[in-house]
Amino acid sequence: MSVLELDDVTVAFDGHEVLCGISGRVEEGQAVALIGPNGAGKSTLIRAVLGLVPVREGRIRVFERDPADARRHVGYVPQYSRLDPEFPVTALQVVLMGRYRSVGWLRRPGRADRARALEALASVGLAGRAKDRFGTLSGGQRQRVLFARALAQDAALLVLDEPFNGVDTTTQEDLVALLAAERARGVAVLLSTHDLDVARHACDETCLLNRRQFAFGPTAKVLEDDLLLAAFAGGVHLVGDEVVGIGAPHHHLHGRHDPTDPHG
């Protein structure tokens, strides 16, 4: 069975269409990048895949079920910057949250759950910071902890919302490596990003969108200049005639550095 099927998906808010015509599949062990400018609907699509926003037309199937029924198997990794650093939780407690779905209501996580959480934390290299407050970790470390949370869930589909924003290069590389390791185990990956290089290195397929889908296919083919230009409608930076990066025209772009600043 395919992990994720998008069939001509249209999402609307208040009568306005914010996404339309999204179609594609993600199979086991595959990684798909969502690429598009700010406001393109990447987060909306992610939320739809998580079953958090309804689909007006078309269909989303996750493990051949309705998104809301497949949550058990979907691990969500949000951006670390959204979370309050003053919140009194330790890194380990955050990773443990990934076990809640399987622990269920009314019960506490048991020894096996804690072991799995520690294992996940170790795989992102932060076993030594387990007892530290989440907010005392650096941005990159926090993003890793959130990644570990999804790993601890033993999810078969990982959904990551701009996981490389504001994160140092080492962490970026480590996360890409971790994603590769998961993929080798058969886990599927869906991630949104601005970074074309990451998409090229980490994802075999790419969905290029800007409210509507411009392409969904092998990354190399999709991230071609003419398609990028079309999707980004001028927000693309050229060196000579070659597209080297994406973002608002007046930012300076240098390859892998994330030029856009959606969250300040």
């Binding site: 998580l50 949550r71 969500y76 949000p78 919140f87 009194p88 939780v89 779905r101 209501w105």
Partner: protein, 279 residues
């Protein structure tokens, strides 16, 4: 007034009432602080007034009226702020003022307006009886059990709402649960310290524990301890002031002033420590 502090049964009851309230309010209060909903909690302390007033008018039990009003408020505030022109803050303030005004309007037509109103709003700690204590124990107990049973879900929701949604937690219902727990605390506090001071027991010890940088469960324990200590001390001060200096001092208000002082001391020390650290 009897000589030694805590010699008389009414003082023992008063102390027990404060301790029960302190413990219950601490457990709920830590969640209120985690979710940054101090204003909502304060609003509820005002919106229960019409419920209490109407119950009094009908000759029914006050706590029932408070409960009805509290639950109504919880559900009202749970409605998503659809009117984009009216901010969430403004909506809470308007509900607060309207309900309170309604309560005041009704009670103001009565003869003993002033006494009644202050009774509802500030309680009467020294006249708490055994039945009141039993009620406090039961209602407060329900609130604590609810918080304990849903502990991990509540913490996850407070920390990362999207992730909580993503694993399928019913956010609206979890939020309603906390609102209802606050309503229960206010009902618990009604006879002892009244509705307005109840919020102090909910917010202040929990805010103090948070300033100390404690984790969630330790916060609850420390907050409860602070409340119990300040409760005892406050009652003792009120007693001694009455005995020695013949000064009438409202015991409920004294306890809250102590709780606030503890908070201020901790806040200043924490601020100083942060300044030293970053220097």
């Amino acid at each position: 007034m009897s000589g030694t502090f805590l010699a008389a049964p009414y003082q023992q009851r008063a102390l027990l009432a404060i301790v029960i309230l302190g413990v219950v309010a601490a457990v709920v209060g830590v969640h209120v602080v985690l979710r940054r909903m101090a204003f909502v909690a304060d609003a509820m302390s005002h919106t229960v007034l019409p419920g209490v007033v109407v119950a009094n008018l009908l000759g029914g039990p006050l706590y029932a009226g408070a409960l009805v009003a509290g639950v109504t408020t919880a559900m009202l505030l749970g409605f998503p702020a659809r009117a984009r022109r009216i901010g969430e803050d403004a909506a809470v303030a308007i509900v607060l003022a309207s309900f309170f005004a309604l309560g005041v309007a009704i009670v103001s037509r009565g003869r003993s307006f002033a006494t009644d109103l202050t009774g509802f709003l500030f309680g009467s700690l020294l006249t708490v009886d055994a039945d009141d204590l039993l009620l406090m124990g039961i209602v407060g107990g329900v609130a604590i059990v609810a918080m304990v049973v849903f502990h991990k879900e509540l913490v996850l929701r407070a920390f990362d709402r999207e992730a909580a949604e993503a694993i399928g937690l019913p956010i609206a219902r979890l939020d309603l649960l906390v609102d209802l727990a606050v309503a229960l605390v206010i009902v618990t506090a009604l006879r002892a310290v009244g509705t307005l001071l109840a919020v102090a027991f909910v917010i202040t010890p929990a805010a103090t524990a948070r300033r100390l940088g404690l984790a969630v469960v330790p916060s609850m324990l420390v907050a409860a301890a602070i409340a119990a200590l300040c409760g005892t001390l406050g009652l003792a001060i009120a007693h001694e002031a009455g005995m020695r200096a013949d000064v009438r001092v409202a015991p409920g208000a004294t306890v809250v002033v102590l709780l606030t002082s503890v908070f201020l001391v901790v806040a200043v020390v924490a601020w100083w420590r942060d300044r030293m650290r970053s220097a």
